[in-house]
């Protein structure tokens, strides 16, 4: 939490992290932020009672709201989710992680209004799905059953992508796990590693939303 001579100085700082670029602000903005009730109340003799009571909670909420990243570009992420949902499942289902057909599939019909950086990360997400849900079955699982499960998982990931884009959930949101469970993805067939893979894929999708926030 540091001060710099200019935006250029801050951006050239070796520890600058573009994921936190929303917290690069003029010093006047930070002066306003540190003028909110949370900071003015420190001189109170009853600070502990105040901070742990409703007024303190409200003040902390006000501070958190001010520091929250800008909301995702819902239009862009929703469009991206729709585009992903239109990908031919057979392309992903049969692809290897380095298969260029996935990229072609995604970029071939990619809506023009979706920023290229987001498109690239959605492509990477699709690849992550391929890696996370391997074509070869885990030991002891019937090949045909595994193929069906894998196909189902890809569909679920696509459905989750659409839902996630609309639901405004965060990568750490427990609703994500609940939603996947509602979709029937309980890992009975695919066992725990696949469940984890599914969850990771969905969370990778959410990282795309985080990227949208920075764009």
């Amino acid at each position: 939490m540091n001060l710099f001579r200019s935006e250029e100085h801050a951006r050239n700082w070796e520890e600058f992290d573009p994921r936190m670029a929303h917290l690069l602000q003029p010093v006047e903005w930070w002066a306003d932020t540190f003028a909110t009730p949370m900071f003015r109340a420190r001189a109170r003799n009853d600070f502990i009672s105040w901070a742990t009571g409703p007024e303190g909670a409200a003040a902390f909420g006000e501070l958190r709201e001010r520091l929250t990243p800008p909301r995702p570009d819902v239009k862009a992420t929703t469009t991206a989710a729709v585009a992903l949902s239109k990908v031919d499942i057979s392309v992903i289902d049969g692809a290897s992680p380095d298969d260029r057909s996935v990229e072609q599939q995604l970029f071939g019909d990619w809506p023009g209004e979706v920023p290229v950086d987001i498109a690239r990360h959605w492509r990477n997400t699709a690849r992550a799905m391929i890696v996370a849900i391997p074509a070869e079955p885990l030991s002891g699982v019937d090949q045909q059953l595994w193929t069906e499960t894998r196909r189902s998982a890809v569909r679920d990931a696509q459905a989750a992508a659409g839902w996630l884009a609309r639901a405004d959930v965060g990568a750490g949101d427990v609703r994500l796990t609940h939603r996947l469970a509602q979709m029937g993805w309980r890992g009975e067939v695919a066992d725990q590693p696949a469940w984890t893979a599914m969850e990771q894929s969905a969370r990778a999708i959410l990282k795309c939303q985080a990227l949208a926030e920075l764009t």
Binding site: M1, N2, L3, A10, Q25, W29, W30, F34, L63, L67
Partner: protein, 140 residues
Amino acid sequence: MGEVVATGVAPHYAELSRTMGIEPVRAKALVKRLIDLTPGWLHPGTDWIASFPPFNNQPTQYRVSVDGEQRWFAQCGFEALACRWLFEGRTVTVDAPCLLGGEPLQIVMRDEEIISIDPPAMVGYTRSMVGGDAATRPFR
């Protein structure tokens, strides 16, 4: 807080116990609770207050002067901006070097008024969430 404002130094809990007229063990618990709320931190492995926002007991590059007297250090560049609320009606000056290049920065404030910002293009930035994980607060 009154002790830090008056002297620039946070008291040890044993000193605080005398000031408050309570047992040292209770003062110690009170300090820990207050530290958790603020967010500040104790020096690792000790009961010494290292940071008590907006101030820092351990010197930092954010030097705070009140009416021209430099006695305080701020926890960070942002908290330096909050020191003014503890010195009502007095002129608070923050002097610090830029982390890139070390050139001087100065902000002068009095209550609600930001009197001067030098250079005017000055910005604040953090790569961590404000008030983030307690375990990493001293290192952010």
